[in-house]
Amino acid sequence: MARRLAGFLVLLLVVSICEAAFLFQPISDSHRSAALELFTPDHGSFKSLEETYEALRTFQILGIEKKPDLTATACRSISETVGSSSSTAKDLFYALKANSIAECKIDKKASKGIISRLNASVSGASSLLDFYYSVGGLVLIKDQSSEADVHLADAEGVFRSVKAFSQSDGRWRYSSNNPESSAFAAGIALETLAGIVSLASSEIDQSLISTLKNDIIKLFDSIEKYDDGALYFDDKLVDGHEYQGPLSTTSSVLRGLTAFAAVTAENLNLPGDKMLGLAKFFLGICVPGDAKDFFNQIDSLACLESNRVSIPLILSFPSTVLSLTRKDSLKVGVSTVLGSEVPSLTVKLVGAFSSGSKDASLVESQELNFDKASGLYILNGLPKSIDVGSYTFVFEVVLHEPEHEEVYFMGSQTKVPISVTGLIKVENSEIAVLDSDLGSIESQKKLDLAGKNAISLSANHLQKLRLSFQLTTPHGRSFKPHQAFLKLRHESKVEHIFVVGNSGKQFEIVLNFLGLVEKFFYLSGKYDMELTIGDAAMENSLLVAIGHIELDLPEAPEKAPRPPPQPVDPYSRYGPKAEITHIFRAPEKRPPQELSLAFLGLTILPLLGFLIGLLRLGVNLKNFPTKPVPATFAVLFHVGIGAVLLLYVFFWVKLDLFQTLKLLGFLGVFLVFVGHRILSHLAAASAKLKSA
């Protein structure tokens, strides 16, 4: 797990180092370390013979030493597959492919068995892939076994059957049933046909091979292009199952092409820039993250490295940023795609153009010197016409031996963006406050933009501020940086930025405060001044605080715009707020207790008056019933009323409404019953009295 993480980090680092458009690096040690990380077998062996073959081939091309345990496990699975009678042609094919690198011994009996099985497979083949595996297997076993007698009986017939799958646009179908065609299948077919030609016991009809040449040329008509010059093949995404992707498709076609070119004596008439474009495609991938993609890339580059069509050569640059201060020299490397040596040649710098300008070249055509120690071509000393900035350098490569031009291909001219940096001299910097009408200087101070400054100026709205300085390149020319800003920041953090313009070397800005009063929101006070001069090509870009200026601006009129609210410090906005103390409602003022008690007494008075009045009127209880039954009812009646009033007192003091109502219900029923009895008794008594 940790190893995988480390490997991933290595890949990330390598990908970040890898150059982007226009610059292609040949294969280097970063690839080798990535390969070791990617091709790690699971428990010592790979999942299939195909993967074993891919790993072995990659290690072989990159020059990584064979691990003995890997070879041993590979040999074991190879002999298993070879010995088993149930292996298909595909298994045998990959076993033999792996064996071509692992070099395990296959005994005579087994190899005889393989040959006969493969021959049978060729005769019974119906689809392109069947032919591919069986013919490919036969080619491999021919190299590996001591049997000399490996050949195809009816080579032309097989050739024609494979050719039958071709289409007019140069693509191939997989079988007669499947109408879909692809360039990937074309690559496979070319490889198969190359194998057939090499296995043929007698010469194959030359016309067949010529038609194949035409097919290849038609196939190359469908090549697609990226802006940086890379060329690749891609199939239309019809069925996701069959779709291989541009990398697999292009490498398949390249394999087929180089295999075919190797077996035929004829010239394929493919222009060299196609091979260079394919080389750019594969190198532009840098380091793939997938094992299969890695194998495809490396295998294709190996095909490009040594093929009979043309071998592309690429220019590589250790650094495209040159510093005038360090007196860097321009270094160029020329190699094949896998980084091998090339025959003797000359690298010429034919021109240098300033980026974005179509003027004539700034340098004369000159040769670069070859440094045997580093293997690089060096331009000693940049010409005086190359100053600080970004340029496009144009190189040309000329091979010394004319016959090499048939074998190798170097593009006509290679354009490379080069950046030149240097120290820019900042001189004659001064700041002044001027009176607006006359332009006379009120106060002027010199600035040292390289060091510390603490200038203190003051101005009112009728004056102007002038800042000026000169920028000169190392070669004494004028220089316009990307950024030349003067920033004024008020105490309340309101900022204003002004661009410093130039005419030639002299940079100057004049701030006329009369016109800027409204822009400054009428804010008077201390303004800090800050100057920024920056550029990608400037090694000493600067951001200096110049000092401060006290500005006296008039009062803001009513309708003046307010300064924009400054961004609040996020910590203060979301920080704790002031604590709130809850103020409860102040209790009402109550009257003094004595007064309340006095009035309580006063309220009792009318009751006493009522009782006294009753006595004066002569109330009596003569009508109270004397017989026991009515008497009890009468008593109970009064008791009931008393109880209800007592209940009300309890209600006020303690009980709630529901309890009261419940009790009142009981009492009420009782009272009604009793009251009815006594009152009807009294009514009957008085009626008797009236009638009597």
Binding site: P591, P606, F610, L617, V672, L679, S686
Partner: protein, 117 residues
């Protein structure tokens, strides 16, 4: 001068005739009148208290005053129903009227006690 003295005498004569007429009313009606007077006085004292100390808590004041007023009203209703000279309530036995008076008072005082707070 004759007019003022005659009006004073008229007032006195009116007052005396009222007193003698009132003395003729039955005793039970007088008891009821006394009760109404008692309720009115209690209400008056409560209003004076509120005027002096302010109306907080207002619900207590209201319930106090309304209890006096309510009970006075019910007593007046009782008096009307019990008065023998009142032809309208000839057939209503006074005990029945008294029972209504007691019941209504009890309901009134339940509400009052609830509102008293």
């Amino acid at each position: 001068m004759a007019r003022t003295s005659s009006s004073k005498e008229n007032a006195q004569a009116l007052f005396h005739s009222l007193r003698s007429a009132y003395a003729a009313t039955p005793v039970n009606l007088k008891i009821i009148d006394l009760y109404v007077g008692f309720a009115a006085f209690t209400a008056l004292i409560q209003v004076v208290y509120m005027a002096s100390v302010g109306s907080f808590p207002f619900n207590s004041f209201l319930s106090g005053v309304l209890s006096c007023v309510g009970t006075a009203v019910l007593a007046v209703c009782l008096r009307i129903q019990v008065n023998k000279e009142n032809k309208e309530f000839k057939d209503l036995p006074p005990e029945r009227a008294f029972a209504d008076f007691v019941l209504c008072n009890l309901v009134l005082h339940l509400v009052i006690m609830n509102f008293l707070g």
